[in-house]
């Protein structure tokens, strides 16, 4: 099972590395544009990029290259749902993709993390093409998370919870497929949960019971529980 997993990654990387470079370049351009010149069309382009890359993962990665694995079509459907979340965002203007607050700088760190994937693999003694690249599902999820954290004025919660779900799926693969790179995703997505939900609490404070403090305690407790059970598992 582990061999199949790494073989599919190797064949995927060998066949699509020019495409992957193009994706990374596009992501870099979009991120820089969003940071320095946030216009309406840039936001739309960023959301479109999210849709396209989700569909890429679903169809090219899971249905074409990883079809040797069991239940790869389930994960393809999941990434189609991720694409749907972004399409919904695009159509209804659900999130604003603009900067605010302190968490922006944390987001920048998270944004760079996907680029660390190949280096971690190489430092573990793997050679190209059998290494993790930035256009693999978990790295893409990490990039999306970074975008959400950086441009967090009003975020796409659908996409975020999908990413959180993905990080739980990914964590279980660490031991299963020997891919410790994915720990990055969990390490960043669980604190993001606390940040995002306490922020959304603040935006509607005062109108609800129980008090914001209680809810914040609950959220933090859930985050600790999640982290704890992930470690235990």
């Amino acid at each position: 099972m582990k061999e199949i997993f790494w073989n599919t990654i190797a064949s995927y990387n060998a066949a699509t590395w020019p495409w992957q470079l193009a994706f990374i370049a596009a992501a870099a351009v979009l991120t820089l544009l969003l940071w320095f010149r946030p216009r309406r069309w840039v936001r739309i382009a960023a959301k479109l990029y999210m849709v396209i890359i989700s569909l890429w993962i679903a169809f090219v990665y899971y249905l074409k290259f990883a079809s040797a694995r069991e239940h790869s079509e389930v994960l393809a459907i999941f990434w189609c749902m991720m694409a749907l979340a972004w399409i919904y965002d695009l159509v209804t203007n659900f999130s604003s993709f603009s900067r605010s607050g302190k968490a922006s700088y944390w987001g920048l760190i998270v944004l760079v993390l996907p680029l660390a994937y190949p280096f971690i693999s190489i430092s573990r003694g793997f050679v190209f093409p059998g290494i993790t690249m930035p256009v693999l599902p978990s790295a893409v999820a990490l990039y999306m998370l970074g975008m959400l954290m950086t441009f967090n004025e009003k975020i796409n919660f659908f996409a975020y919870i999908f990413i959180l779900h993905w990080s739980i799926i990914a964590i279980s693969k660490i031991t299963l497929f020997d891919i410790p790179e994915d720990i990055l995703l969990a390490v960043s997505s669980i604190p993001a949960m606390v940040i995002f939900f306490t922020r959304s609490l603040k935006s509607m404070s005062g109108k609800f019971k129980p008090s914001d403090k209680t809810v914040t305690v609950l959220i933090s407790a859930v985050a600790v529980l999640l982290a704890g059970s992930l470690l235990a598992g």
Partner: protein, 255 residues
């Protein structure tokens, strides 16, 4: 009592009644409380209820003046807090001999109390469904997957409800989203993936209307009880439809 006073009292009791029924209080309690409230305000109340409308006749004890209302029952979200508070209000009116004006003011403050924080409910429901998964024999991975699957499903439900989408569609979509997320656990190759898949939609099961309907039936309000159960059953059908879409998508390769 003058005609106008009786009309005013009837107006208020009609509102009280429709709020209680709309917030999902079982029928015999609503009837009892409305009668108690009417008694406290010096009138007799006779009530007929059905699923979407209620009818009440308010009559003065001394004169022969009657006032009849047919009210639509508004569809509030179920609120146990209103149940407790409005019941207490009827006792307070009875015991403290409150006037109509006082009762009405108290009623307005009670129904404008803050509701549950949606983020709080989101986390509580996700935790609850994860525990439910455990009760059905799921392991830690199944619980974690159920937790986030419920979270996305319930968030979808909250979002669509806020957008005033038809609630049958809301149930189908949220059941589908939650179960699709839970189905990713199949790829982990854990033996409890099926449990995660089956429990992921259970947060939608309309337990309160089901139990309310049966309480109504045991109390003798059989028509209302049956209509509540049928209503809840429709929602269960919607859950099953949403889940079936997932199963047809996912299980084709499994079966």
């Amino acid at each position: 009592m003058t005609r106008e006073q009786i009309a005013e009292t009837a107006d208020f009791i009609a509102r009280y009644l429709s709020y209680m029924l709309g917030a999902g209080v079982h029928t015999s309690r609503v009837v009892r409380n409305s009668k108690r409230l009417g008694n406290a305000l010096g009138v007799d109340v006779a009530i007929h209820t059905s699923q979407k409308t209620a009818m009440l006749t308010v009559s003065d004890k001394d004169s022969n003046v009657l006032n009849t209302r047919v009210v639509d029952i508004p569809s509030f979200p179920i609120s146990f807090e209103w149940n407790a508070d409005l019941s207490a209000l009827s006792w307070a009116a009875h015991d403290r001999k409150m006037t109509l004006e006082e009762v009405r003011r108290e009623f307005d403050t009670l129904v404008s109390k803050p509701g549950m924080n949606p983020v709080f409910v989101l986390f509580m429901v996700s935790l609850a469904n994860a525990s439910f998964c455990r009760l059905f024999g799921g392991d830690i991975w199944a619980m974690l997957v159920t937790f986030t699957a419920t979270m996305i499903g319930f968030f979808t439900r909250q979002h669509l409800t806020k957008k005033k989408v038809n609630h049958y569609i809301v149930f189908i979509v949220s059941a589908f989203v939650a179960s699709i997320c839970a189905s990713t656990s199949l790829s982990l190759g854990i033996p409890t993936a099926e449990i995660a898949l089956a429990t992921s939609v259970l947060y939608l099961v309309p337990g309160v209307p089901l139990i309310n309907g049966l309480i109504d039936i045991t109390d003798g309000h059989i028509q209302t009880g049956i209509s509540r159960i049928v209503n809840a059953f429709m929602l269960i059908v919607c859950i099953a439809i949403g889940l079936s879409i997932t199963l047809i998508l996912v299980k084709n390769s499994l079966l």
